[in-house]
Structure formats: C-alpha cells, structure tokens
Symmetry: C3
Subunit: 460 residues, 3 copies
C-alpha cells in the first residue's frame, strides 16, 4: 500500500476478499468517502482511489456499489479460458485437464439472491449516483469477472449452453462521463458490460466472450469509443449493441461467433463502424433498427459461415436468409469499402430455394452503398464434435479450405420498395441487385468483357 488512496483487497482489515470481495470493496469505498468527505477548498479535490486485486480467486457475494468518481479497480490478469469448451467436455476427460476454470485476478460472481428483478440488482459491479455532476472517470482494468455457470432451467438439460444466469458483470446505471473499461476478461455472464447514459466512455482491449450479451450501450449516449476488443456473445444475445447514441466509434474490434447479431444499432446516428472484423454463423450479423441515420460502415470484414461445433448446431438466432446479412433501417447511412464473405451450402439456407440477401435496405432514403466486395461460395467447413482444442483446428482448417469453392448465387443488395434516393455503386452486378432504378441510383459492378475504360468515353 503506497498511500492512503491505494488499496489492496488482500490487505484490507475488514472482511475476507476470498469469501466476499464485494463486501471488502464496499468497505474500502466507505473508507474513501470518510477520508475524502470534506468539500474542496482552494483547488483541492476528492481524488478517489485505486483498489488492486492481485491474481487469485475472489468470490463476490455482495454487490459492489460505486458512487464516487475517480475510483479505479485494477487487477493483474484478464484470466479468460473457454468455459464453453470445458462444459462440453466429458467429465472423465476433464480429469486430465491442467485447469478447468478461468484465472488471473478473478472475481467469481455468486451474488446472494436479492429478491429484486431488475438488471441492476443482478450486477457484480453497479455504478449509480444521483445528483450532480455526473459520476466521472471510474475505471475497470485488467481483471476477470466470471459468472461461473449458465443455469437456465428451461434449457432441456443444456443449462451450461443456455447463456442465461441472470448475472451482469458491470452495470452503469446513472449518467456517467469519461469512464474507462480496459483489459478486462468477462466470461459466462448473461450480460458482460451494460452502460446507460454514457458520455466519452472508453471500452478498449477487453476480452468479452462466452457471455449472453457482451457490450451494451443503453439509454442514450454520445462521443464514446468501443475499440480493439475481442468479443463474442451467445446465440441469442448481442456482441455489441448501442441504442440512441450519437458519435459512437466502433473500430478495430475482432468480433467472433456466435451472437444473435455481431453488432446492432438501434436509433443510433452519426456514428462509425470501421476497421472491424466480424464473424457470424447467422443472418442479421449487422442490424440497424429503429431508424439509424448518417452512420458510416467502412473497411470492415464480414464473414458468415455455418456453425461447425456439434454442441451448438441446435441453436441459431431464428432469422432466415432473406433478413439480410446486413439489415438496415434508416436514412443517409454510408456502407463503403467493406468485404463481405458468405459461405454456406444451399441446403442450409432458409428458405433453401431462395437466394440469400447480403445487404438489405429495409426502409430509408439517402443511403450510399459503394465499393463493397461480396464473395459468396458454398461452404468449406464441416460440423465437428471434438470437445476442445480439436475444434479450433477443425475450424481453422475449414476456414483455410477456401480454394475451388463453388460460387453461391446471392442478392448482393436489395433495396425494398418505398425506399428512395438511395445510391448503390459497384457493389454487385446488374443481376445481383434488386432496386427500383427510377427512384434510386444504381451503377452495377462491371462484368468481364463489359469494362468501361476511360478511353471508351468521349471527351466533352
């Protein structure tokens, strides 16, 4: 402990952090509030504190309530390992495993039942404060929050694959400013990060996977950044979700399956999705709902193929292939310079006799879709029931088996009737684009033998 404001949960005299780290952290926060109780005089602030969680197993029975600004909780390890593989491995094989649980600076979420039904009550870490100013600069860094088990009783004996346990990792309930969530590992939680009313939030370099939902920005918010994360939600949750946001930047993330959506914006405007890699097993991997406007989707790589892992093949997100791999509602959005790969055999399409839709503008005007490269092929992958790392090898090998695939016929872009003044350029050939050309602008990607060399044009 280097100063009064630097705490270590294993050194604090109240409580036992291995039995209930929640009670210990709440006791530390109470101490900070007592020591920093007086209002500032002559530029003096209430600087907050840092609480260190060393590597170790720390059970959390009591919810942590953070209601002071400038609190940083930091560990020394995000501690991710795949619990999903573990829970689909036979017990006798597990006996040979080196370890079976996540690690690092690990918080085991084992909240005592509160009787409350609201999501905030189910969070391991709740940030909430009334009054002014908005709570500022709380930081979470480099530790692990492990929900331990999925437990949905209605899952027909498949509870550990249900992605439901009523647990949230971090829940920001009241308006907040300049928070940072960095380097965290969030595992086996129904909700990883839920942030209401965020301004200038940073969610960077986290490992949020095998959670029902991973990163949810709710309520409304502005001027935030979700960048450089590794993310992958369950089959009926969102990997990245934002609603009623302006000025959000989602960049540099590697979003892997599953996820009902890889990313969904609802009522989001003037925001960016750039330079991400998205991989999904279902249609609707990107969804704009509730009228999203003036957003930019550029330089992303999208891949949709089929679920290769036996324990998960019975699940999907319930959407069919007419829904659109990118499903867009709203006006004046830009979809530029993306690569989109779809790899699936026609027998697995739903409905199997219709060409799947890649980019679908459901409604809206003024959208600009240009220079997207859509590659659709029959699939190379195969289902695999290997319980653990063999799955990784099979999946990688399937991905790598991309030579000599047969082309799959698709609708590259579909602009639904009633949508007008949209512009579709070089994102599919004439035959691949469904659009009312009288009320929308269209230039098909040239075909071999049809090239438009500038020399063919007359000087004006």
């Amino acid at each position: 402990m280097t100063s009064a404001n630097a705490y270590d949960v294993t050194k604090w005299p109240v409580g036992n952090p291995h039995e209930d780290i929640g009670a210990v952290i709440n006791s530390i926060i109470a101490d900070v509030k007592i020591r920093q109780a007086s209002r500032d005089v002559n530029d003096g602030g209430k600087p907050g504190a840092v609480i260190y969680i060393p590597p170790g197993d720390f059970r959390l029975v009591t919810q942590v309530l953070i209601d002071i600004s400038y609190l940083k909780i930091v560990g020394s390890g995000h501690g991710f390992t795949s619990s999903s593989i573990r829970f689909n491995t036979p017990a006798q094989e597990l006996e040979q495993w080196h370890e079976v649980w996540p690690g690092g600076s690990r918080v085991l979420v084992d909240l005592a039942p509160s009787g409350a039904e609201d999501d905030a009550s189910k969070a391991a870490f709740l940030v909430e404060r009334a009054g002014n100013p908005r709570i500022s600069s709380v930081e979470f860094a480099d530790f692990c929050i492990d929900g331990l088990h999925f437990t949905d009783a209605a899952s027909n004996g498949d509870a550990e694959n249900s992605y439901r346990n009523g647990k949230t990792g971090i829940h920001l309930a009241s308006a907040n400013d300049s928070f940072r969530i960095k380097g965290m590992g969030l595992i086996y939680l129904e909700h990883g990060i839920v942030a209401y009313h965020s301004d200038a939030l940073t969610v960077d370099d986290n490992f949020v996977a095998e959670c029902g939902n991973c990163i949810e920005l709710r309520g409304m918010g502005q001027a935030s950044r979700v960048s450089n994360n590794l993310v992958g939600a369950g089959y009926d949750g969102h990997s990245i979700y934002a609603e009623n946001f302006g000025g959000l930047l989602v960049s540099g993330n590697n979003v892997f399956p599953r996820g009902r959506s890889s990313i969904e914006f609802s009522g989001v405007v003037r925001s960016s999705i750039t330079g991400n890699r998205f991989h999904s097993f279902y249609p609707g991997m990107l969804v704009f709902s509730e009228h999203c406007s003036e957003n930019l989707i550029s330089s992303n790589h999208f891949l949709r193929d089929r679920e290769p892992w036996a324990p998960m093949t019975k699940y999907d997100n319930g959407l069919d292939d007419q829904f659109g791999l990118l499903h867009l509602n709203g006006d004046n959005n830009s979809v530029i310079a993306n690569h989109i790969s779809e790899s699936i055999d026609t027998q697995f399409l739903e409905p199997s006799y219709e060409k799947p839709v890649i980019i679908r503008i459901v409604s809206g005007r003024g959208n600009y879709v240009a220079n997207n490269h859509i590659v659709a092929t029959t699939e190379a992958s195969q289902t695999n029931d290997a319980p653990n790392s063999a799955c990784f090898s099979t999946q990688v090998e399937a991905i790598l088996s991309t030579r000599n695939l047969t082309t799959l016929d698709v609708i590259a872009v579909k602009v639904e009737p009633g949508s007008i003044q949209n512009t579709i350029l070089d994102s599919g050939s004439d035959a691949q684009v469904v659009i009312d050309r009288a009320v929308n602008a269209f230039r098909g990607t040239p075909m071999p033998g049809q090239q438009l060399g500038s020399a063919q044009l007359e000087p004006t």
Copy 2:
C-alpha cells in the same frame, strides 16, 4: 518500493509531493542520475526508473525537467471531469455537487512565475536534453494534469471560458525517440501535449479535453502514431495538429468539439488520417496548410453542426462556410470513403446566401477524391443553457432528431481554378461539384433514373 529504480512520490524523503510534486520528481531524477552515473561496461545500461503517483492531489510549483531516457511516470487514474460545465454552473448549485474538481492521480499545475516567455518554460513537464543519442523511451501514463483555471484577463469577464492560461502539460523540446504517452487526462491547459522533433512517438488512449490545444506535433517528425484518443480543444485551438511530419498515423480517435480545427496538418506528407470520428461546430474542421502531399484521409466520419450550449455560442473560429469543411492545400492527397454530415440552418451560414463548401481543394494537383458520402441537412439541434448534465441530454436528443430533416444545398466539392489533374469520383452529383473539367477528371455520383448499369455498356 520494490527496487531502487521504482519510486513513489509519497515515499520519497525529500520534499512534500502534495505541496510541490515537481520538486519531488526532480529530486528523484537527480537520484537516478547519481546512481546510474557510470557509463556502461559489458552490456550494462542505464535503465532509468519508474515514478509512481498514487491517487491524490499533488500541486506542481516547480517545473519537472526530464533529461534521462527510460523514465516512466505513472499514476492510477486519468481523473477527467468537466471543468467547463463546472465553471458555467451557478455557485449556489455547485454547493450541492458531489465534487467539483478533477481527480485520480492529479497534478495541479501552479507553476511559480519564471519570468520566461517561451512555451517550454510554462510546461509542467519539460523533456529536454542536448547531445546524443536522442532522449528515448520516456513514458507518461495514467495520471492527470490539471491546469485548474483559464485566466485570460482580456476575456471580458469570461476568463474561465478563454482557454488561455499560459500553461502546458507536457512539452518535448529536444529530438526524441520512442516516447509513449498513454492513458493520461489533460484538462484546462492552454496546451496539452506539445512534441517537437518526435520519432516513433505513441500518443494513445489519452483523454485530452477542455484544453486550448490538445495534441501538437511541432518542429518536424516521423513514423508516429496518434490513436484511440478522446480529444476536444477550445474554439481557437487545435484538437490535433502536426507540422512537417512524414509517416504519421492518426487513427481511431474520437475528436469532439470544439476546436478551431479538429485536425490540421501543415507541411505534412505521406501520412494517414483513418478511421476517426470528428465532430465540430465550425467550418475548417480538417485543414491541410503549407502544401501537404500524398496523405490519405479515409474511413472517417465528419459531423459539423451548430454550437448548442449557451455559454459558448458567442465564440467561433472566425471562418466562414466558403472556407470548406475540409480545406486542402497540396498535391497527390487521397480522400476516400469518408462520411461527411453537415447539419445547419441556412440562417446560420456565413454568408447565409451562399451554399457552403464541404470539400475544398484550394490549390494543388493530383488529388484523388472518391466515394465520399456527403449528407447536408437543416439542423435538428437547439441552443441550450442548461448548466450541466442536462446539456448532455439536450445535445444527444438533438443529434438523435435526424428524421425528416430538409436537405441543405451545398457545394460537395470545389476545386479552385489553377488546380489541375485532380480526380473527383462519386462524391457529389454534377450540380454539386465545382470543377474545371478540362484540366481535372470528374465523375458525378449517379442520380436516380440515371443509373449506369453494367448491362447498358457495350462489350468491347
């Protein structure tokens, strides 16, 4: 203290870090120099040191002078809160606030007057060393530098909104290599970071806001990275500025208002501005001055709307709407795949009777402007005088009110006379682009009913 090279300002026997952290750090540096005085023998180096600043208020009266390589100064909290909202809140309301100052590991800049007028003398942290090699690998991480007050006496009673106090946070004066500035909070400084002659500099994930100028790369430099920051300067300063640089990468930043410019390059070449989100209240949000060449501007989201917050509506950057939202001087630059939104009522344009210019090539040849989507509408926002977080809500709601806006007539691209051999593709319709087509190449974005399907072309 874990080893002789790991210091904690609150444990050092000389000085009181709460009264003058500058004197304490200088004393520590002197100690490092004494202990690491001998030149290396048999691969032995002068490894430098780490100085830890725990959360707390630490006044800086004496400038820190860093003249050794491999010094890392690290805290446990960037500690940002909005001082701008605070200084525009009535005193009686402030009495109800939880806290009114920034926090975390907070350095309060209160430099004793030195009599010197140069910028370097006014910096809290000055890095300067003569001789060889260039000073290397100094690192600043995860603490707060707070300039406390703006104080311009000529500001007609609005000193705290003047963005002037003669204070700089970090000033790199001599040629430097492989520095890192990460996770910092810089607040209420006239200059946040000023870096002269930088090679392989990293400025990543900082929160630099409510500063006169935020990040300035001066002198000349190369091969550096300004990425993943949250940034917003005052109305007459730069959010990001670079001069005489080669190989700069500006990516993944969320740059919010205000800022005379969101980003300005002066004499910069072969550099990148990619995947950023920029928001401004004035024209000239991106400026290339002094002949910038061979730079790439791609996959950025630009938004310009009108100042919504009453205390700031009297200020602007003095530029009119003919200046260009993107104002470019120079040759062979690329502007590709950006989304640009302008939202303002014609009554607020200057001059109000002329169509505003979005991308303006003032002079130069060989520039390539392609596949930019420009959306111009009358505005949804309204001025708001709410003193604190209500401003956030109003701003967000205004941003979200983007349905059914009226289209605003603009000049999408203007290529000034004398500029030749530029190429403008799919970035505006014929009617929206002003260009001499005899000496520049142009293809207008197709309009509905004018589509160029590849089937319309004759095979060659």
Copy 3:
C-alpha cells in the same frame, strides 16, 4: 509483494535476477505450481500469478519456460533505443553519448548454448505445454527484451548489421488461447515474437524494431489481433508475417523500414489489413503467398522509397521492381481505398528500363481492386551517412521535399495471364493497367477532359 500470487523478481529469495532472471522466473513458476497444485473444487481455480520486473538490467542466461495459464510478466518500461544507430557510430563519438544501451525493465538475452538447433530452444521466453486445455491468458507487458548484438560471422565484418544472432524474444510453441502481448520493447533479436497455433491472440502497442523478424504468426491460427504496434524488421525478415490464419485483424500499425516485407500473408484467409501505415525501401512490401483468399486490404497508406542511410544501402531484399509493390496470389481478395506512393528515380529501378509494377495479381480469380490512389514520382531523398540523429533529420527533410517531383511512369495494376474474373476499378488509367479485359472487368480512372458526368448518361 501484495499477495502470494504477486511476485517481484528483485525480492525472490532464489537466485540473482541481475545475473540470471531466467532462473529466477523459473523458480517463481515452480513455486506457483506447488502452491496451486490441487485441482479445483467448488469453482476454485488455479489463478496463476503476476511477476513484476522493475526497471533495471537483468541478464537472462536460462530460458524461461512457461507452462501454466494466467501468468503475467510485467515491467515498467519498454526501453527501446536505436542500437542500429549506435553500432554504426564511431567509438570515439560514442564516448560522448549519454547512454548506449536500451533500458527500462530490460532483459539482456545471453542464453547459455544448449546445443539444440530448433528455434524454440533459442527463445528467451518459451511457452509450451502438452495436454488440455490449451494454455490460456499468458500475458507479457511493458518490459524490454534486448538481444544485445547481431553476430553473423558470414557478414564480412558487418555482423552488427546482419540481423542474425539465433535469438528469439517470445516463442509460443504449443496451441494457445487468449494471450496478450502489450507494450513490450523487442530489440536486436533475430525473431521478436513467434506465435504458433494462436487463437484470440492480442499483440497490441508493442515496439518491435531492429529485429530480424518482428511478429510471426506460424503454424495456424484464428481470430487474433495485431494492432497499434510500431514495427520495423531487418532487410531480410518480415515485419509482420502470418501463415494459415483465418480471421486475423491487422490494424492501426505503423510499420517502418526495413523488412523484406512489411507484411506477408501465406495461406491466410478471411482476414483484414486495415488502417495501417507501411513504409518500405524495397518491392514486395505486401505479399500474399500460398493462395490467400477473401482478405481485405483497405485504408492503408503504403510508401516505398529508397534507402537513405549509408550503412544499409548495400542491403536489399533481392526483389526487382517487376515483383510488385503489392504482390498477390489468391482468390476473392479485396484491395479498396488505399493510398500507394512510390518515389524512386528510374536509375535505381531494377530493371531500370521497365516500368515498375505497383499492384500485381500474380494468379487468382475474383479479386476486387477499387479506388486505390497510386502516386509515383521521382525521388526527393538522398543517401546520408550521418551516424545518428542527423539521419532522422535528413530522412524527414527528404520526405518533406515532395513538391514539384516528376511523375514516374508505372504499371498501376498488372493482372497476369490466366487470372480471370478479377475486377479493377478506378485504380489507374487505361494506359497504366495491364489486364485481359475479355476475362476480367476493368474501369479505368477517368482522365481530365474525359470525365463521365452523370448528366452525360441517358436515363433508362
């Protein structure tokens, strides 16, 4: 030491970390294994540990073998300085230098000869474990691994410029999951980071330079991220290399010379190279070998000019200018919205009488090359033999001398015979693109006076 799982190499009772940090860390790992030997009961894990390396010189004689999950090794400084400049500076001048070696938390790699010839045996840090599950969440952060000297005896007295010494910094030998390598400095190693069989690997914000090869992802792997690094390899090694990978995201890196390639993919599919800045002195700066498919290359800045520094002008990568600056083998890749600058005098081209090739599709079908801006000029730079920081100034000044350069004739895109169904749009004029238009699609960038305004088109 804050808990049993938090170690400091300078506090450990076994061994002397300054004499052999390898033996100390191995002793600590043995202690972790003893203390965490029991298998989990009731959700209890084996949380691993953190090992701290403070700033200082720590010789490594014994290889570190990591075979436990959740181990984090962390320092307080990446400690890079240019050893290349130092070894090309006259001894008498060095006597005036402030320091001549890298610093920070510095590991001096001085491995005892093992007799083994495999690469894994030559690594300072080896991660290897048999059985299940894959080893997870090992983290390296914020320290320096210094190979000290290059030593190739066959280098005709230029051993320190040979980039060969048989040393590797970090070698991941067995299948691994969710590793993180962040903030490291890797210097004067023949191989910086070599990662076999990685899943969900993060390599972020490292400084890997003056290494023979910098970042190599080998074997096979998936869903990983190489982002925000500063990287530059030797003239015969790779700056970034990946083989047999799916779902790799390479983004936001600043990759400077030299490097036989700035980036090479071999058998990589469905991966992204976006938003990077690449600078090279040779052809073949980006190479796709062994059939790479469905990858996205977008929003990157590429610069190739000529080696300006006298000690290195005798070296190159042996490729000629017909090889292609971007050399692509494979199907269905996307090259969209990049800026590519080549600056060289014709006398230095090889062969000097042929136009150099910028983008070359050696073989493959279905590739999509659109909206790339290729700028080719005679060079502004000059060779310089200044031994140290003067080189920086000369290089920067050369870069900045980009006005009034003469245009260099190039082949912007060359699609080799036998390659079919490729699409080349707006990436070069008719005269600059070599392609069989009967079997590939082509639209030349319009030329001045040839513009295709949408008004010229007939409504359909």
